[in-house]
Amino acid sequence: MSLFGIQVSVMVHVLFGVLGIILAVALLVYVLNMSEKNIPMIRSLSLWTAVSMILSYVIGGWWYVVYYVHERDIIRAGPWKWAHTFFMEWKEHFFFALLFLSILLPIIAYRNDLMVPENRRLMVIVTAIIVLIGLAVDGSGAVISRGVIVGYMGRVAP
């Protein structure tokens, strides 16, 4: 794949991750304003949040396995090696919790009576955790990107 294609693929991974967070925030707003009228939108948002997170995982996972090794070497040789040894390692593994909860979201939405307050609370908890983990892994991704830049800066301007 061309350099352009590699960079676009990682941006598409981020795009779906951010889209998943935005959809989860919208879902949270709807669940906090629960009514019979909002239930179809809640179910639809829960499904699209899961789809978005799964696509982010598949595209990001493919990029990570095939292309990240080159960026990893640059980060590890530079002054911000912790961008890989902490942030990437934590992100690549903790993302699985986000993936599981994203898959759980439509199961809760489609298979339960959301007018029951306890069920609504469960939906709020799972959605809020998805938003928080999503922001944490997104922020980690930003640190990793800066780690690459700092690694290159060390090479051209010691």
């Binding site: 396995v65 593994h93 919790a97 599981f100 909860l101 009576d113 908890i125």
Partner: protein, 103 residues
């Protein structure tokens, strides 16, 4: 008083998410502390993280269906399941962060 308003699939996959998040962290710690095991994971599917993903996602799905069939709905209300998920995320995420800070 236990609330019985959740369906069994939700309980099964909710518990599976909580349990496998913890197992995911334990698998990370074990593979990082055992280089031959990490190498075997890498050899199995080309990259240790690919094998890791197949194991934990497979476990999440299998455990989800098994628990959905086995669980008694009256034992797991939505609030109790919510608390289990919160604690699982705090413990698994915190332990993972602590491990990579110390490792």
């Amino acid at each position: 008083m236990t609330n019985t308003t959740l369906d069994k699939t939700t309980i099964g996959f909710g518990l599976s998410a909580a349990l496998v998040s913890i197992l995911n962290t334990l698998l990370v710690i074990f593979k990082e502390m055992t280089p031959p095991f990490k190498k075997a994971m890498a050899d199995a599917m080309g990259h240790h993280w690919t094998t890791h993903g197949v194991i934990v996602i497979g476990l999440f799905l299998v455990l989800g269906f098994v628990l959905a069939g086995a669980v008694k709905p009256e034992s797991w209300g939505a609030d109790k399941l919510g608390k289990a998920i919160i604690w699982s995320v705090i413990i698994s995420g915190g332990a993972l962060a602590a491990f990579y800070i110390l490792h």
